[in-house]
Symmetry: C2
Subunit: 453 residues, 2 copies
């Protein structure tokens, strides 16, 4: 892209006033997200919207002048979706952070897109409610970003993904028009389901400027955590399948392979048990939570667990929370987000082992196991060659997941990082339909061009 | 439409062979659905597909020649979506009725679109699983029709709508191309969510030829039913709001107003209690189901219920099941499908009373109350004038629901019957986006033209 003509930027300033930021330090800080996607250069400006009208004016301007726009919540995304374009415009939503309403009777909240996930959850808890989506990034990520990526997290096994929590949206379309989707009722079948179309659309179809989301009542009583160690990851995977098929539905069900456990222990000892063993950690909630955790452990023992422990607090999840920083600190930095049907968990773990061995690289796996969603992370140096070599491992793991009936992305989305994998999963007709919808809604291709679709 | 040229029809016969039916009796039987939508004339032919290739060939033919196509499952729809076009083609899916797979470990089923809802449920129950969607039409409606209308039903209050049960689809696009959407994993964020776009699309974007759906484990133990009578419908509505907000989540929570109760009693006495009283009926399932039903009744009594009863069988739902035939038999024949947020239930009932009085017409209301979804049914003679007068009552009720934050359709969809109401709920931009997507996917406008969008 050629640099934006200064007169054009002046026109934008007339439309949005001080919301337009051109300070190079601010622009640089908003040019990348939390993924390994490389920077694509410096944007020409950033609109820090404080209301829908800023977003609308910014997109109308970009649409008129064909300026590429990146859309940004907190920038915690892991697939490159919020990376800025050289000479482009960044639309930043982090200043639109008001919780407009919490409706206790209907268990809904109306929020601006920049509200931090954990802040909404905390506000809901003051009314005995909670916000179900809980990506591990909840303390930074925004609700708008969660919706745009259809974020997952730890509680999905019990409460579903972000899509399940979204009822209605306000969206600014590529040409600046404002549209409302959905309704405040629990059921609504009125024309095409545009709400679902925008959930997970990664900034390619419009900018979400308000969301009405579902809240749930906080379950009464203790929410114990539990853990169990298994001699082999396959045994642990089979235990996951058995737990998911059983009556004691857990709130959280996570799996760490032996290498992850070892790395977490060496990063910050949290008193994890058996060396060389895979670790299942989870949580139960609601009626009989402690008994249900115990009975899950019994099932685990019957399936080969060498030890097991229930705690009334949520401390047993601490090791899981340390996984990301620990792996990065120890040089495991190239990760992916594949998913498989639950029945294929043991098979995918076995295959990942073989792939790591074939490439001669260590691969640690942390999984939202109850959903069949895995984050294998490959060891790599910092050089481009090293990253590329690790990405070849990821490609093999991804093809393996697909061969087992799986998906290339369970929760992080496509962005730029996984775009080359799209045709591995989607057929030609589906790719065509995606492109046709994109062209229909954003004919000039200004919104997050070249990503996700 | 001018009649289709016989040579064209011959070309279709070459493509689909004996699947093409032109017998006038068969065509007439497939020209309308179960709604009050008038017939639009006789179709030129019907393709009774026995496989995806028939559907693909039929749509490719219609696309080439610009022939309007209606898509039909069981024809139990209540909004006119499956009504045939004069000189058009009917694509009938009822012969594609194989259950291809029930995967117990992953709790999924793969079905052809013409499988009858109750048949899938019965097949799943042989494995201790069930199919959550349960429209009152489950014994006739097809799974494809349920998906195309995003059908609701009695168990939605506990298990959500059909959309929540759909994981992946095979769809034939307007030009005959075959596309797959979704994945077999519990989480999947790969490009735009085309699965959700086709759910509820009422035959306007493509024909569903296969679906992968979620099954759930049948809860252990008894599934008692309960009922409670209330002196006023507002008290009953407030009880619904309290139950939904409480800890004892029911499986089913239905409300019949005093007029419905009276009509059902005079149609077929089922031993219903108090005259002139509104009736709440429901069901609980899972751990402590009987105690939970009792505790729901206690709450009802505290909120004014004059009597209450729990039964270990599901007999207390019988009156609810008789509602449709009873109302029709007694001349209440023009119904609608509005929804409101739970907190507005009492207000909408009060308003419906006033509207009925203002028009001087009896209105009986049966509601999937736990979802805030109401089916008011207006008394009318059979003449066109009478129907039109009753439709004016429906229009007023619909505007009332919208003014309370509601929806024009909770579960039956738009079809032709509610199309004039679309702009009451959707803004200009949303209508435009719907049309743009329709034009992108069906540029010749052959699929269910002039309906739903
Ligand atoms: C340590 C760590 C842990 C994580 N754990 C999880 C996890 O458990 N589960 C999970 O799913 N993800 C996880 N993530 C990834 C990330 O946090 C999520 O994808 C999150 O939803 C992104 O939110 P954000 O506000 O940071 O969005 P951004 O990164 O700013 O943007 C993400 C995408 O959404 C688009 N977007 C953002 N806001 C809007 C809007 N208002 N309108 C339209 N488009 C918009 C952007 O254009 C971009 O394509 C993790 C990330 C980190 C760094
Ligand atoms: C007595 C009675 C009770 C009812 N109770 C309920 C209820 O409780 N809840 C509820 O939601 N509905 C209810 N309905 C309405 C109706 O049964 C549902 O809408 C049902 O989902 C329609 O299924 P069908 O197979 O009969 O579809 P049809 O009536 O044949 O078609 C309905 C729509 O779906 C489209 N369609 C059908 N199959 C496909 C396909 N394979 N691909 C693409 N499009 C397709 C058609 O074009 C049409 O627009 C009831 C109807 C009756 C008569």
């Amino acid at each position: 892209m050629a640099p934006v003509d200064p007169a054009l930027l002046q026109d934008l300033r007339v439309r949005v006033g001080d919301a337009l930021v051109t300070d190079p330090a601010v622009l640089a800080a908003h040019a990348h997200d939390s993924s390994r996607a490389p920077s694509e250069g410096m944007p020409a400006g950033l609109v820090r919207a404080t209301g829908t009208s800023h977003v609308s004016a910014a997109l109308a301007w970009a649409h008129e002048h064909g300026v590429p726009v990146s859309v940004r919540g907190a920038g915690s995304g892991l697939s490159g979706g919020a990376v800025a374009y050289e000479g482009g415009l960044v639309v930043a939503l982090d200043a639109m952070r008001r919780i407009r309403d919490i409706d206790v009777a209907n268990r809904t909240a109306v929020v601006e897109p920049g509200v931090v996930t954990a802040d909404l959850d905390a506000a809901a808890r003051e009314h005995g409610l909670f916000f179900p989506p809980d990506p591990a990034s909840a303390r930074w990520s925004t609700v708008g970003g969660n919706i745009a990526t259809n974020a997952g997290g730890l509680r999905c096994v019990a409460h579903g993904v972000t899509a399940d929590a979204v009822m209605a949206l306000e969206v600014v379309l590529a040409d600046g028009r404002v549209m409302r989707t959905g309704s405040l009722t629990r059921k609504d079948v009125v024309g095409l389901d545009l709400t679902s179309l925008f959930v997970g659309s990664e900034g390619t179809l419009g900018v979400i400027t308000e969301a009405t989301v579902r809240l749930k009542p906080v379950p009464e009583g203790p929410q114990p955590t539990f853990r169990a160690s298994f001699p082999t990851i396959e045994q642990a995977a089979d235990a996951v399948a058995a737990i998911v098929a059983g009556p004691e539905q857990p709130e959280v069900l996570e799996l760490l392979d032996a290498l992850s456990v070892e790395i977490i222990q060496s990063f910050q000892p949290t008193g994890l048990p058996a060396e060389g063993a895979a670790l299942l950690v989870g949580q139960t909630a609601g009626p009989g939570a402690i008994e249900r955790a115990e009975s899950i452990l019994e099932l685990c023992r019957a399936l080969g667990a060498t030890d097991g422990h229930v705690s009334e607090g949520d401390d047993l999840l601490e090791a899981r929370r340390l996984a990301n920083p620990a792996l990065t600190a120890k040089g495991l930095r190239v990760s992916c987000d594949v998913g498989v049907p639950i029945s294929q968990l043991a098979a995918v773990f076995r295959g990942i082992d073989d792939i790591g061995a074939a490439h001669g690289r260590r691969v640690a796996v942390v999984a939202h196991a109850g959903d069949g969603n895995l984050h294998p992370t490959v060891e790599a140096g910092e050089s481009a060659d090293e990253i590329a070599a690790a990405e070849r491992v990821i490609d093999d793991i991804t093809r393996l997941a697909l061969s087992l009936g799986g998906t290339i992305s369970g929760e992080h989305g496509i962005g730029s990082v996984k775009r080359h994998e799209l045709p591995w999963q989607l057929d030609e007709a589906a790719l065509d339909v995606q492109r046709a919808i994109k062209a229909a809604l954003d004919p000039r291709g200004i919104l997050t061009p070249g990503r996700a679709i």
